[in-house]
């Protein structure tokens, strides 16, 4: 307590001028916070969010098919918990004991608190509240089980585990869109957070390999490949995304044959992908530039082919360096999906605009926008936290403090 007071004094009240500035800032901040809380708790009418919570979550996805989304969420919760637990069960090879993430008890506590409170605050029906609580319980249980017993699994099984995620992605696609015996739900009916997450995860997953290829192309010895990559990257980076989205709606139908991009949603997802790839290529290029020449020379002098050297020596190091910049790109990609609403799709912002256009909720813009901001903030924060944990885990110089 005393040290806290001493610190406050030295940092905020060191000189009379400092003290005046500190007090002024405090007053302004306190007034703003009080005003905001007064609005949020007294004046704001959150019914607009409560009534439309399903719309925000999944748009106009048919109610009788929504069990598929619940099933998918269940699978995701189990997989997330299991992955988390496995990472806990496997500290770094060098036994420096770096866990993932470092504050994971705190993370679980926040998760549990949020999942208890949010469904309740949203005024969801008791049955649905219960579902969210069960999902959280499932995640936490999977995390605990994998953390407790994961280290003892046979190695062959462990090697299979990372494949769970791509498989789950494909399963999710089928569950959402239908096919293989499930009734089809046209992309036009996907909406809200579902569409936002789907479009952005699709673009994030696919822009990574494309971006890496572009970055390599830009450093290639073959002039045609190099110029092609530069031209592509600079063209995309020179055009605003919204124009590309409109362009995509108009020309992708001609460019991609045989119904590869038959649908407005898919066209937009592809445009997002190719857009993000150009920016990602620049991030990867800076990562490649950071790997010393000696690494390639050492790999080559050991007899590795250039492809092997690239894949096993240069790229892992380059991607590790580029990771923060890449995640920055992913975060802005997530936010850029709001532009989908401008080409008439019902992503989060699209849903919000349609809700606000409803005469019953006239003048409730602030509540709706604030909800949107919080949802996006949560997604971006999760991406950022995950990436920082990954960075620490991959850091070859993360030496434990020697005692």
């Amino acid at each position: 307590m005393q040290s806290l007071i001493r610190r406050l004094r030295s940092e905020l009240f060191a000189t009379p001028a400092d003290a005046v500035i500190s007090i002024a800032l405090f007053t302004i901040l306190a007034a703003a916070a009080a005003g905001f809380l007064h609005w949020a708790l007294r004046q704001a009418e959150w019914a607009v969010v409560q009534v439309n919570s399903t719309l925000f979550a999944v748009g106009r996805y048919p109610i009788e098919q929504q069990w598929r989304l619940w099933l998918l969420t269940t699978l995701l919760a189990a997989a997330t918990g299991a992955t988390w637990g496995m990472l806990r069960a496997h500290p770094r090879r060098d036994r420096s004991g770096q866990l993932w993430p470092r504050n994971d008890r705190l993370a679980v506590a926040v998760l549990i608190a949020a999942s208890l409170w949010v469904p309740f605050a949203l005024g969801l029906t008791p049955a649905i509240q219960l579902r969210w609580w069960l999902l959280t319980a499932l995640l936490v249980a999977a995390r605990w089980l994998a953390g407790r017993f994961g280290a003892g699994l046979p190695p062959a099984l462990k090697r299979l585990l990372p494949i769970v995620w791509p498989v789950l992605y494909l399963v999710g696609m089928v569950l959402i869109g239908g096919g293989i015996g499930l009734a089809r739900v046209a992309p036009a009916e996907w909406g809200g957070l579902l569409l936002t997450l789907l479009a952005s995860s699709f673009a994030i997953l696919l822009c990574l390999p494309i971006g890496v290829l572009l970055a390599l192309g830009r450093r290639s010895d073959l002039p045609l490949l190099r110029w092609g990559s530069v031209l592509y990257i600079e063209f995309i980076r020179g055009a605003p995304l919204i124009t590309l989205l409109f362009l995509g709606q108009n020309i992708l139908g001609f460019l991609l044959p045989g119904g590869l991009a038959p649908d407005r949603v898919w066209r937009a997802a592809w445009v997002l992908t190719f857009f993000a790839a150009a920016y990602l290529a620049e991030a990867v290029r800076s990562g490649l530039a950071a790997v010393p020449r000696g690494q390639l020379e050492a790999a080559r002098s050991l007899g590795l082919s250039s492809a092997q050297a690239l894949r096993l020596v240069v790229l892992p190091q380059a991607l590790r360096v580029a990771l923060p910049a890449m995640v920055g790109q992913f975060i802005s990609l997530l936010q850029d999906t709001t532009l989908l609403s401008l080409i008439g799709l019902l992503d989060l912002l699209g849903v919000a605009r349609s809700v606000m256009a409803n005469p019953a909720f006239l003048g409730k813009n602030a509540e709706v926008y604030l909800t949107l901001a919080i949802l996006f903030w949560c997604c971006c924060a999760a991406l950022g936290l995950g990436s920082r944990a990954l960075e620490r885990r991959l850091d070859p110089h993360a030496v434990p403090s020697r005692v």
Binding site: R93, A298, Q317
Partner: protein
């Protein structure tokens, strides 16, 4: 110290190299190295020592002259280059360990990938090699956690794990703190006792005197003098060598 045989391992004739910026780095360098021989290359900084030994495993190309390594002519044929790189190991001034792989994985990567040997067998050999260079207990650490001298010994073990017939060293102790130089030189001296062929660029006079069969002086992209160590250090034939020795002794 084992004596070199008469069999030729490296033969370089009239090698000339221009860097892309036009700099004429090698001006007709000649060198013959026999199997089992330990050759030390000395010379002022910028004289082309690194460039020269890097042509031996095709890390640098050259424009004129011929180089034959273990009977294979170095040409632009990629298959030749791959074959030669498998037989020639290299140890760099900056170690160039792979920082994202543990020490043991640094050693096993190439033999498993290039020689297609079973991983368990290579790992066993790798641990034996680490034992031999005196750092068996560091096998599961990452390079960033080791001292410079330990890293360079890992780098030597990594090169040895490919079972090369020739080892090239480019100033292996120049980036090390003085107290770590000895541990690396000791490892190299032990290697020299085996019949592996070694070409070592170094300024370590004691190593050259006691370990080398032959010492070579390079200056301005040429081999100026080559002689057994006693002759080289006490009674060199060329004025250029004398001036160089005056500077370093």
């Amino acid at each position: 110290m084992s004596l070199p045989t008469s069999e030729t391992m490296i033969e370089a004739r009239g090698v000339e190299k221009w860097y892309p910026n036009g700099f004429h780095a090698l001006r007709g360098a000649d060198l013959t190295v026999r199997r089992g021989e330990v050759v030390v290359i000395m010379g002022p900084s910028g004289s082309g020592k690194s460039t020269f030994i890097r042509t031996f495993n095709a890390l640098e190309d050259f424009q004129k002259g011929t180089i034959t390594v273990d009977g294979i002519a170095l040409s632009n044929d990629l298959r030749n280059i791959d074959a030669i790189r498998r037989e020639v190991g290299m140890v760099f001034q900056q170690f160039n360990l792979f920082p994202h792989l543990s020490v043991i994985d640094n050693l096993t990567l190439a033999p498993v990938l290039v020689r297609r040997r079973p991983k368990a067998e290579v790992a066993e050999q790798a641990r034996a090699l680490l034992e031999r260079v005196g750092i068996a207990e560091q096998a599961d650490k990452f390079p960033g956690q080791l001292s410079g001298g330990q890293q360079q010994r890992v780098a030597i073990a990594r090169a040895l794990c490919m079972e090369p017939r020739i080892l090239l060293f480019d100033e292996p102790t120049s980036a090390l703190d003085p107290e770590m130089v000895r541990e690396v030189l000791e490892v190299m001296q032990n290697l020299a006792a085996d019949d592996i062929t070694m070409v070592v660029v170094t300024h370590e006079v004691k190593f050259a005197r006691h370990v080398a069969h032959r010492v070579v002086l390079m200056a301005d992209g040429e081999v100026v003098e080559q002689a057994p160590p006693e002759t080289f250090f006490t009674n060199p034939a060329h004025q250029r060598t004398r001036r160089f020795l005056d500077q370093i002794l």
